[in-house]
Every structure is written in C-alpha cells, then in structure tokens.
C-alpha cells in the first residue's frame, strides 16, 4: 500500500468517527453552530441579492459592475485563500505534532509535503465555500440562471481553490527556507518589492480603454486587477459565465488554462517538498532551543504600575507577558483587528464616504457587527479558558495572600481594557473615514464599548463558573457547555444591542422617521443597551466570584 493511501484511509476513518466525537460535544453547541451557520448563509444570500437588485436598478452602469463583480469577488476570495494557506501551511507542515510522527515513517518528503498541502488547502477552503455559495446562489437567482450554473461554478472553483492554496503553500515554504527569523526584515522587503513588481507588470494595459471601463476602474479600485487577463480569478469568473452562456470553446479554453496552471503549481509544490522542505524544517526545529531574552519583559510597565497593589500588579504583568509570549494569541488578534483596521482606513479610497446616507448607515452598522463578532470570538477563544488554563499552577493563585474576587476582577479589567481600547478605536476610525456624523459616531463607539465590557465580563465570569483545571487543551475547554453558553450569550448580547439601533437609524433614512420620535427611540434603546450591559457585566462576575470562593482546590 502506498503511504499516501494509508493516510487517506486514516483521514476517512477519522471522518467516520465524527458521530462519536460529536456525541462527546455539547448537543446545544452543535445545534447552535448549525443554526448559526445556516443563518449566516441565509443572511449573506439576502445581502448579496439586495446588492444585485440595487445594481440592476442603476441601469447600464450597474449591469457592467455586476459582470465585473464576479471577477472582483473571486479576486477577494483568492487573496483570502492565499493568506490563510500561508498560515495553515506553516502550522501543518512545521508545527503540527503529526509532522514529527510522519517524518519518522518511511515517507519521502515529497509525498509528505503533497499530503500536507492538500490538507491545509482543504482546511483553509471552508470559508471560501461559505462565502461563495450564497454569492453565486444570489447571482443565479437574480439572473434566473439554471442549475448548470452551479455545476460550472463547482468545476471552476475546485482548481481555483487548489491554485490559490498552492500559492500560499509555496510562499510559506519559501519564506521558512530562505527567510528565517533573523532575516525576516529582508523577507518582508522582498515580498513588498515583489508586490510592486507584479503591480507594475499588471498595469501594462492597452492605452485605449472604453470610457465606461475607465470610469468603473476609477470607481472600484481593484477592478482593473481583478479583470486582468492574466489573473486566475478572471479565468474562473469569465469561464463560469462563458460555459453558462453556451460559449463552450472559450469556457473550455479558460478551464484548461486554470487547470494547467494549477497542475504546474502542484508540481512546484512537489519539487519544493523534495528539494527544500527538509532544510526548511531544520530551520524551524534546529534553531536555538533557549533563546536569549531580556531578564524582564516590559519592566518599564511594571514600574509604571507601581501605584497598584502588588498582587494585582503581579497578575496583570503575568497575564500580559504570557499573552505576548504566545504567538497564537497575539497573531490572531493582530490579523483580525489589523485586517479590519486596514479595511476601515481604506473607506475613502473606495469612496464609501460619498455613498448615499442609507448605504453609509448600513456600512456603519455592519462595521459594528464585524468588530463585535471578532471581539466575541477572541473572548470566547482566549478570555473564557484563561482561568482553566492556569491548570496545575492554580494553587499558586489559590495559596497567595489575595482574594478570588480580586483575581477575577483583575482578569476582567485587563480583558475589558484591551477590548474597549481596540474596538472603540476601530469604530472611531471607521466612522471618521465614513464621515458619519457625530451622533452616529457616538452611538457606534458607545455600542463597541458596551459590547466589549459585556463580552469581557461574560467570558471571565462564565470561565470561572465552568472552570476545568484538569483540561490543558483550550479547544476542549471552549467546546464544552460553558464555552458554548458563553459564545451564545455573547452573540445574543451583540445582536440585542446592535439591531435596535440599526433599525431606528435605517427607518430614519429610509422612511423619514420624525425627529422627535427618532430622538425618543434612541434614548429608549440607549437605556436598554445600558441596562443590558449592566446585567451582562454584573451577573456573570458575581456568579464567577461566588463559584471561585466556594471552590476547593
């Protein structure tokens, strides 16, 4: 039997054991996640459908945008796949514990890298299909296309996913091999130079452009790149449309171009696996085991916090240092918030600030929704399990001359301070870039603060209530009943706060809600959010403190 066959049989067996694994998980969690995912897909479908209808109402220009939007959409998804595959490839190839196991088996590195590439591409492609399905369904619904459109979408999407994944894996392998930690700056400089070079090459376009295309390119940045004939996303989008419209020759040619390029990258992955993987693996595992560090990280902050009681200062510094030394935590936070920050700061480049008020409103509330979602997921992932992860060292806190109340409140204030600073900062940036007006800016920032405080308190309090000191695996801690309840309540709090304000402001700009009624409604909803936040902050913390005080260690 070929080793690769054995590996796929193993993966198939793992999949078959899914039922048993799900039985060990909370049913509440499984049902909730399924319903939430269905709701998200449905929501995306409705949003995309409304978008297509809006464009259709614009007439000729709208029709042109709709056609090109397909390419733009695949460009975005492709970029997302490349990015996520860079990260997933790194962890599956170099950091996974399975790597050590498989490398001691009689498996050549070419086969190993091929398997890991397919695995990481499949792992990182779920979000692609999660977004692509509602988008293409909305498009098909709007354009009244038949089921054959779905077939061609699948036929083109699969090679496109593997092509983007291969690019990510190649970048990851090359970066580890040729740009190890000490040469990171040189690596970053090379990547930036490469991006500029590609951009310069792609800008060599026919001087003569249709006036409409010229205007569209000015209006929608990225469109020029997305519709470039050398871009794989363009082959995908154009190919799907060509085959749907019965242009067999053009569609077939584009599919073959896509497949041959994917096959070429696949060969390159195998060649990289054969030639550079082992050396790259040595770069990661063969680096000094004990890195030279300063005696004290952030010693200046420790001295700055001298005014705090010593036990609180000690806990704050321990948590900050642990966070900074755990790349998993800070890198996820940095990626999510960094991407949101980049997106918000480019609003004016996209001319979002010149949009009609109804759209600007929608964008502002969608932004609060996205910032809050990230806050909820990060709190569920990192704040909720932090007390449980104290694990076997919890006795240090338990025996220390400090109270459980102080421990829990310190953890809450630290989490809340970080969440509030980031979310309020991001919402301030978003509303400023959108020129949203002072009232809407104030409400957005207020909502971000309220949600951050509530979610921090929920995660800290429920983390104490459902503490599990025997479980070292954070994934197992958050997948239990407590973790699920925390996520559900956090998302509930988020929706319960954002939706009422969103509806009032939508009615105001769409139906012309009267001034007096608008002000009254804002005051009532504001009061509701304050009361809800007060409850969400105080109750979980009170329950958590009570539980910790009554606990035996």
């Amino acid at each position: 039997m070929h080793p690769l066959t054995a590996i796929w049989i193993k993966n198939w067996n793992t999949l078959c054991n899914l039922r048993r694994i799900l039985q060990r998980e909370s049913i509440f969690k499984t049902v909730f996640i399924l319903l939430f995912a269905a709701g998200m897909v449905g929501g995306f479908f409705m949003m995309f459908l409304n978008g297509f209808q809006f464009l259709a109402n614009l007439g000729g220009g709208g029709f042109m945008i709709t056609r090109r939007l397909f390419s733009l959409f695949f460009l975005g998804l492709g970029a997302m796949l490349v990015m996520s595959n860079i990260i997933t490839s790194y962890s599956t190839l170099f950091r996974s514990r399975e790597t050590l196991f498989l490398l001691t088996a009689p498996l050549d590195t070419r086969t190993f890298v091929t398997y890991k590439f397919i695995e990481s591409t499949l792992l990182s492609s779920w979000a692609f299909f999660f977004l692509m399905i509602p988008f293409t369904a909305a498009y098909a619904w709007h354009e009244k296309l038949g089921l054959i459109f779905a077939l061609w979408t699948v036929v083109f999407s699969l090679p496109f996913v593997f092509l983007s994944g291969a690019l990510g894996s190649l970048i990851s392998l090359a970066a580890v091999r040729w740009f190890p930690r000490s040469r990171l700056v040189w690596g970053a400089a090379a990547v930036i130079l490469l991006i500029f070079a590609i951009r310069a090459i792609l800008q060599i376009r026919p001087v003569i452009q249709e006036e409409a295309t010229f205007i569209l390119n000015r209006f929608l940045p990225g469109l020029q790149l997305a519709t470039h004939p050398l871009m794989p996303n363009n082959w995908t989008a154009e190919g799907i449309m060509a085959l749907t419209n019965g242009q067999w020759l053009r569609g077939g040619m584009l599919w073959l171009v896509l497949v041959t390029n994917t096959a070429l990258l696949f060969l390159l992955i195998q060649e990289f696996g054969r030639r550079i993987f082992y050396t790259a693996y040595q770069q990661v595992t063969g680096s000094p085991k004990i890195r030279r560090r300063r005696d004290e990280l952030l010693g200046w902050l420790d001295r700055l916090l001298a005014f705090l009681p010593h036990d609180i200062r000690g806990m704050i510094m321990k948590d900050i240092r642990s966070f900074l030394r755990d790349p998993l935590q800070w890198s996820q936070a940095l990626i999510f918030f960094g991407l949101l920050g980049l997106y918000f700061s480019s609003f004016r480049s996209f001319h979002y600030n010149e949009m009609p008020p109804i759209w600007r409103n929608l964008v502002v509330f969608l932004n609060i929704f996205s910032v809050s979602s990230v806050i909820c997921s990060l709190a569920a992932r990192f704040v909720f399990p932090q007390l449980s992860l104290e694990g076997h060292s919890f006795w240090i806190l338990g025996l220390a001359p400090t109270g459980m109340r102080r421990i829990l409140l310190t953890k809450f204030f630290l989490a809340a301070l970080a969440m509030v600073t980031i979310s309020a900062g991001l919402m301030g940036l978003a509303t400023w870039m959108l020129q949203a007006g002072s009232a809407l800016s104030l409400i957005s920032i207020g909502l971000a603060v309220a949600i951050s405080l509530s979610v921090s308190a929920l995660s800290t309090g429920l983390g104490a209530l459902f503490i599990d000191l025997k479980q070292p695996n954070p994934a197992a801690i958050i997948s239990g009943f407590g973790g699920t309840l925390n996520l559900v309540l956090s998302l509930g709090m988020m929706l319960g706060s954002i939706l009422p304000f969103g509806l009032i402001w939508h009615w105001r700009v769409s139906e012309g809600l009267a001034d007096s009624l608008f002000i009254k409604a804002n005051l009532i909803v504001g009061l509701w959010v304050i009361l809800l936040s007060a409850l969400m902050v105080s109750l979980p913390l009170w329950l958590g403190i009570r539980s910790l005080k009554n606990r035996e260690y």
Binding site: M1, H2, P3, T5, A6, I7, I9, K10, N13, T14, N17, R20, I21, R97, E98, L100, F101, L102, L103, T104, A105, P106, L107, D108, Y278, T279, Q282, T285, G286, S287, P288, K289, I290
Partner: protein, 256 residues
C-alpha cells in the same frame, strides 16, 4: 547495526552534540544516560532523521540516514518521550494505518492486531477512541504500533514515563525478549536502575560528549568508582557547584 561517526550538532552558541562516535551491534540493548540538556534527545533525533547533523554520519543497518532516509526509516522505529497519537481513531484503525504507512501486509493483519492487543491487555479498548484511553494504555498501544513492521532498530526516549509497575515490568520483559530475537534497541532514561537492570552496554553523555562507554564493570574502571551506577553517574557528570543544603538560599535571606 548503528554506526555513528564524528557527529556534531550546534544550536546557536550551544554545542548540543560534540564529535560523538558510537558503534552498536545487532541484538544489543544500549542505554544512553546523561543529565538534562546533555544531548541525548538531539542525538536520537539525528539518528531518526528528524534533525540534520552539522557534520558526521549516521548509518542504520548500513543505510546513511541523510542520504537514504526512506530505506533507513523502513527498518527503524521511534518512541518519543511525548508521543503523538491520532486521538480520533480507534486502536485498530491506528494500527492498520501504521501497517499501511510501512507497507506491511501480513496475510492476517487483523488477526495479528487482535493478538497484539490481547498480549498488551488492550482488547477491551479496541473500539474506544485513542483520545479516551489512559496514558498507560496509549503507551502500550504505541509499543504495538512500533513493533508492527518488525523493525531491526528501535529508539526509545524515556520509555517508562507515567507507567504503573505492571506496565513497567511488561515493557522491560518485552524489550529484553525483542533483543534476544536480534533487535537493536537504543533507549535514553533518567531511571538509572532501569539501565542497570536491562542494558547490555551503557553510554554516558555530558555536554554533548560521550564521556563513558561500556558495561557496568567497564564504567566502574573508567570512573574509578566501585559503587552503584548512580555513584558512577554522579561522579562522572558532577555539577561544578553542587547544592549544599546547609547554605541558606538567596531568597531566604531576602525574606529576612
């Protein structure tokens, strides 16, 4: 069976393995001893091909680990100190996977697996998920998996961690039996009694250098110490500043 010539490995400024040469014939149980950070695990990782030596060669059964890695790995097995197991598989599925990985297809693989599970007292757990097994059960499963392709050489890093006395006795008997059958075993341990009990030869490594090698009697001669292996080991690897229990620790003074 194992031939190491002038092996060197450096991590940054630390020389983890320093000009190590060693020959281990077939059918020998060799025990590698050394203080923490002496270079034992690094040496094993180089022998299994996980780490590339800076210089020197390693041959397993005549195959150069760096130049013929697949051939060398085909005849070796490795049990690390913190082994990885697929938690979402059952023991039977895992063993069949390992058999596939090593392209082992005995006429009655299922029967072989069943008898191995029975021998190691895992027949009751055959359909449980590995994630549900206790530490001792996982260790025993790992031994079955390692022996499934009848390797000629086995590397074991700390074989008895977390095992109960019954499992320890079983593993010791098993290793001795395998050596009698001609298998070569290299293991590292901090349990000196284990080395004294089962090793044919012992090597002591300190700061990446092999400082003593041979049977217990040879080590006594080399160290000039007639005592137990513990005395010999402590004598050879003596720390430059041994702890003196009568000296008050720095923070006791601080507390005062």
């Amino acid at each position: 069976m194992i031939s190491i010539q002038h092996l060197n490995k450096r991590f940054g400024t630390v020389q983890a393995v320093n000009d190590l040469s060693l020959e281990i014939p077939a059918g020998e149980l060799f025990c590698f001893l050394g203080p923490n950070g002496a270079g034992k695990t690094t040496t094993i990782k180089m022998m299994t091909g996980l780490l590339r030596p800076d210089s020197g060669t390693i041959r397993i059964g005549g195959f150069d680990v760096q130049k013929q890695p697949v051939e060398a790995k085909r005849i070796m097995g490795y049990i690390p100190d913190m082994p990885f197991l697929y938690e979402k598989l059952t023991p039977v599925e895992f063993l069949k996977f390992v058999a596939g990985l090593y392209n082992v297809a005995p006429p009655d693989l299922s029967g072989h697996i069943e008898s191995s599970l029975r021998q190691f007292g895992l027949q009751e757990a055959r359909n449980a998920l590995i994630g549900e097994l206790s530490h001792g059960m996982r260790q025993r499963l790992l031994y079955i998996a390692t022996f499934i392709h009848t390797p000629k050489v086995i590397f074991i890093d700390e074989p008895l961690i977390g095992l109960d006395p019954h499992s320890i006795r079983m593993i010791k008997n098993l290793l001795r039996a395998k050596v009698r059958d001609g298998m070569t075993i290299l293991l590292t341990t901090h349990i000196l009694a284990l080395a004294e009990d089962i090793a044919d030869r012992i090597g002591i490594i300190s700061d990446g250098r092999l400082i003593a090698l041979g049977k217990l009697g040879d080590l006594r001669t080399q160290s000039g110490d007639k005592g137990s292996l513990e005395d010999i080991f402590l004598n050879l690897t003596a720390s430059p500043e041994p702890l003196n229990p009568s000296t008050p620790m720095a923070f006791e003074a601080l507390a005062k």
